[in-house]
Symmetry: none
Subunit: 198 residues, 4 copies
Amino acid sequence: MAIIVDKVQKRRDIALSCVKLFVQGGIGHLTISEVAKKAGIGKGTFYDYFKNKEAIVFEILNILLEEHSKGKELKISQASSTREKVKMFFDFYSNNEDKELRQIYKEYISISLSNPNKEMVDFQSKCFNTYSSWLKNIIQDGIENKEIIPEALNLSKGLYYFGDGLFFNFSTTNVIGDIKKEIHFYVDSLFDLIEVKK
Amino acid sequence: MAIIVDKVQKRRDIALSCVKLFVQGGIGHLTISEVAKKAGIGKGTFYDYFKNKEAIVFEILNILLEEHSKGKELKISQASSTREKVKMFFDFYSNNEDKELRQIYKEYISISLSNPNKEMVDFQSKCFNTYSSWLKNIIQDGIENKEIIPEALNLSKGLYYFGDGLFFNFSTTNVIGDIKKEIHFYVDSLFDLIEVKK
Amino acid sequence: MAIIVDKVQKRRDIALSCVKLFVQGGIGHLTISEVAKKAGIGKGTFYDYFKNKEAIVFEILNILLEEHSKGKELKISQASSTREKVKMFFDFYSNNEDKELRQIYKEYISISLSNPNKEMVDFQSKCFNTYSSWLKNIIQDGIENKEIIPEALNLSKGLYYFGDGLFFNFSTTNVIGDIKKEIHFYVDSLFDLIEVKK
Amino acid sequence: MAIIVDKVQKRRDIALSCVKLFVQGGIGHLTISEVAKKAGIGKGTFYDYFKNKEAIVFEILNILLEEHSKGKELKISQASSTREKVKMFFDFYSNNEDKELRQIYKEYISISLSNPNKEMVDFQSKCFNTYSSWLKNIIQDGIENKEIIPEALNLSKGLYYFGDGLFFNFSTTNVIGDIKKEIHFYVDSLFDLIEVKK
DNA sequence: GATGAATGAGTTTTCATTCAT
DNA sequence: CATGAATGAAAACTCATTCAT
């Protein structure tokens, strides 16, 4: 009998072995040959596991995002106040561990902006729904705990957009400022307005 | 006597004649041949006016953005309240006249995210500085007019990011909602907090 | 005790299970993977039974042709006159039962015209000899029966070519006419000349 | 001003420069690189003049066939009797000058049998109509000249098929006989039946 | 006996850019 | 000034075949 391979696992393995490659060189100038070489497989094998170059970017993004989400959930739940939770929520845009993920995300967004396909649009929608709900829930909890005023709920979606806009501007600009500081500054400024005065 | 061609004007003419082409088909699959044909010039001539394909996208963006800015300045100055001015500021993301510009901008951002060059980064920085200052000034004026509380100034940059994040999410998602409504809702919610109670 | 597989039978089974596949899609774009899948075997197994893709076309052609010949012999022997026998001989090119065989034959001829190998050439020669002799015998019998004039024997080979030329033209042309009618018309016209007047 | 090239002529030139290549090696294993090299042009230039590999085969076939037809018309018109005209008509299948054309035709037919497209089907139809009419006219003239009996007209189409069938069988078989002799033998045998006895 | 995972050579095609006229 | 013919590097992708298990 022939070898039976865990296709899903091998797909992951190939994807993960190339993360560095994608992060460093960018996707545009990367060839399948290079990718296959890095993964230690033949070009044909690459196509047994991925439909095309975009597919592996997608896979990498999914894997890293999944891992990221798990860790994030824990961190947020451990934060003491709503203010801190929100800051933690936006931590993705500045922390060091997610640097790779951010890079991949950037490349992915680039593709998604110019050549979107249904899969990508769906993925984007899913991401938006998942993460904006997450933020909304944090706010809602804060309201229920009497930490922040009820009107703050209306700001949650806009606050979510803030994060993406920030990310987007830091990605395309070299105005290097401290992104973490900017986040904290904005969140603090906002919370000064919406926190229940004791 | 040789015909003296206004190089700058011809550059503009070529760029403008191709706006539709770029808006419809996207930049990715557009060839220089098509662009030259559309502009009614030879391929060689194209290279007399533009360094490469990206350069014309850049030119188009600059022309449209310049036009846009002029009109915007007027509109904002005519708005009655700070609240309205801010709404007017974000009008770019939803109004019908700027549809083409938004499309070009999207394509441009896509390039800028994956293959930025110095020129682009500078442009992005300039844009960021110009427009975020603009918003800041609006806020500042509002504060000076006693329309809104002084603390609002700290929110201006974050508010600016909100706009980009919104644009970004609507561009990549098919969650079709009314973008104008979302803007107004957020601005209103925020202004309810920062407007000086009379 | 090991299972003893009838190699010859299995070869036939594999070939026959793929007839539809070859008829529908054409050979050009058919992959061994598809063939193996359709036959319910592994790709490796395919190579245990066939040297390459051409080999299975060959096998299919042989099987179908063999079946066809048996039936044909019977039908011809039952025909009442030489005229009818000849019509029956050419029936292959128009009847419905042999549609699949004709399709396969067409594909095979295509290969044979551009990439002939010894095996194919031999096969073609054998076919030519078998079938043209067959036709010749029919004519000869007719002569001996005093149905047709002795000179007709000289026409038998040319008559045989007529069939192939007809097939060839109907295969490459869309001039859809009734192929059966054309056959009968020609055979009748010719027999009017060569039949012994009573 | 840039050079203006006679596109049609250059297309012909490229096509003709490769005739030998196609005749010798067959089309299947020929790469565009080889073709371009032989024609003394770049690969890209090839695609400026031909859509793909098939297109040049088509062009070659058309050129050679056109030339062939001209010469043929003259020869046939000079033949003394209908019998000779018909033999001359089938001369294409055996004479030495048309060897190249036959080879190309063979390759073309191979493509046409397995991957026909509308253009090919139309071409085949046109060829069939043109040449079968030609033969028919020869016969008709013979009838009008009282050389052959009126019933012979019904045989013209079938006679045309004879030629293709002959060609087809000689192309796929190695039964090397003298194709010219076969043609003459059949035509003579047939004419013995249809010529008006004096 | 049977399998299917792995391979990589080989080919088509595109298109930005150049430069002779 | 303007042109468009010519180029060829570069990349994606296919698929027959092998062979370890």
